[in-house]
Amino acid sequence: MANAYASQSFTLPAPLSLDNGETLASAQIAYETYGELNDEKSNAILICHALTGDQYVASDHPITGKPGWWVRMVGPGKPIDTDRFHVISANVIGSCMGSTGPASLAGDGKPYAMRFPVITIRDMVRGLIALLDGLGIDQLHTVVGGSMGGMQALSLAANFPTRAARVLVLASTARHSAQNIAFHEVGRQAIMADANWLEGDYYGGDVPASGLSVARMAAHITYLSEEGLTDKFGRRLQDRDSKSFGFDADFQVESYLRYQGTGFTQRFDANSYLYITRAMDYFDLAEEFAQSGNDTTEAAKLANAFAGHARGEGARFCLVSFDTDWLYPTAESRHIVHALNAVGAPVSFVELSAPYGHDSFLLDLPALDRVVEGFLK
C-alpha cells in the first residue's frame, strides 16, 4: 500500500541506519505541507503524529474522508498559523499511510510483514531528519508533537539539538511506564491471537480486523478519562429500553468502542500497530543517554539527553500536560521539565485542566490554543 495515499513522497537517498543494527534501504517518507516556506527557510514547523496518526493534520483523510486530525490547531489564522509558518507533517517509518512500513514491498517484491525491522522512536526521527535534509531545512522554527509525537519531538531535541529552535511537547513522556507497556501488550496479543494474522503474512487475504479492533478498543479507553466516559455515556443503554440479558452492545459505551475499533481497521495496518507500539514501549530517553553509572538520580540521567541545550544555548522548550491524562500523567512531564532545568534550558511547563483525558491535546481547549500560539511567537 506504499504511496497509495501519499500526497508527496520522499525517497531517502541513503539507507536508514536503525537502532537494532540493521539498515532500511530505499525508505520512503510520505508527507504533507501547508503554508509557504520563506526564503531563509526559517519558518518551518514539523508536526509529529501520534501512534495511529498520519500526515493529514489539516487535510481530509484519504480513506475516511474525515477532516485532518489537527484542523482545529493548524491552518490560516489558527494557533499554528499557516499564513506565517510552513508546516510539515510526515508519516513515520513503520506506519502505513505511504511511508515505508511492514505493509511495504521488500526487495523481493513481497510485503515485509514481520521481516520489517523492529524500529524505535529514534529511528522514526532519523527518517524525519533525512526528510528535512532533503527539503534543505537546517533548523526548524519548532518541532511539535503530542503523545508519541511528543516522544519524537523530545528525541529530535536530544539527538539533533541544532535542528529545532523550539520544542513543543504535549501530553507526552520521556519513557514508557510498565502500565503503558502493559496496555500495548494487550493490543498486540489481541492482534496476534486473530486467526487471520498468520504470523503477519495476511497481505492479499483477510486482515486480522477483529484483533486490531480489540487492540484499538483497549487503547481508546486509555485515551479518555473516567469523567469523560461517564459524561458521554454513563450507564445509558444503546437504542433499547432495557438490558438484553445477552452480549449485544447493550451499553452506549460498548457500542461506541465497537464503532471506534471497527472504524480503525478500515484505515490502519495491524502489523504497523505492532511495530509502532513496540517502538513506543522501547522509548526511554534517559536510558538512551545513560552514562556509566555516575548519575544517581532519574533527573540526572535524563538531563544527559539534553546536554546539547545546556545554559540556554539550545532550543526553547514548552511542555503541556492535562490533569485528567492518566496515560502520560503530569508527573511524566514534570520529570522532563526537571531534567531541562537541571541543564539550564529555557522551559515552560503548564498542566492544563481538561475533562477529556489524554486526548485533550486533540480537542477543543482554548487554553491550549493560547499556550501554543504564545510559545510560537
Binding site: 533527573a299 540556554g312 526553547r316 514548552c318 521539565v337 526537571h338 532545568n341 537541571a342 539550564g344 529555557p346 522551559v347 515552560s348 511547563f349 503548564v350 498542566e351 492544563l352 485542566s353 487554553a367 493560547r370 499556550v371 500560539e373 504564545g374 510559545f375 511567537k377
Partner: protein, 206 residues
Amino acid sequence: MSPQNTGPLRPDLEVIASHIAAGTRVLDVGCGDGTLLAELQLRHGVDARGMEINAERVEKCVARGLSVMQGDADHDLAQYPDKSFDYTILSQTLQTAARPDRMLDELLRVGSRAFVSFPNFAHWSTRAALMFGGRMPVTKALPVNWYATPNIHHVTIADFCELLREKGVAVEKQWFFSGGQSVGAATANWRAESAVFLLSRDLGRD
C-alpha cells in the same frame, strides 16, 4: 518574541527591573502573570524565566511568549543547579512560603544574588489596626482576612534583617516604600508598607 508591556510597574518591581543589567539570567519565583518578566525581557534584554504555582497565570505567561514553568517554589527550586541564575527574584511571595528561611537559602543557592520584596507587617497602619481594633489587620497591602490570606508568615523589616544576620546574608542594597514614595531606612520599620532587598552570600567565592 514580543511580550506586551502593560504600563507602569509596581514600585518594588520597578526598582528591581532598573537594577538588572541586560544579558543577565534571571528567575522570577512566583512570577504571577509575568508583568516583571515581560518588562525584563522586552525593555532590558534579560534572559528572564519564571516559576508560578497557578496554572491560569502560567498559561497567561506562556501566551505572552515568556518561559515560565508551573511549579511550587517550596519544592521545585531544588531542581535548579547552584548559581543557575545571576539573579533570583521573590517579589511579595516570601510571606507565603512554607519556610521562608529555607526559601531564602534556595534563592541564594540557585542565584548569585537575590531580590526579595515583601509587605512590612510592622507598618504603622498594621500596628494601629491590631492595637486599636484588636483584630488581624486588613489593609491596602494585606487585603485578605486572616483565614483566607495566603500570607502565612507575616514578617516585619526588623524580623527580616534579623534573619539575614543569623544566616550571614549580606544586604547589597535596600529600598523601602510607602504609597509609592521612598522611605528612609531609619524609620522604615514603621513607615514602610513594603521593602525590597538585594541580597548575596559568599560573593568572595563567585
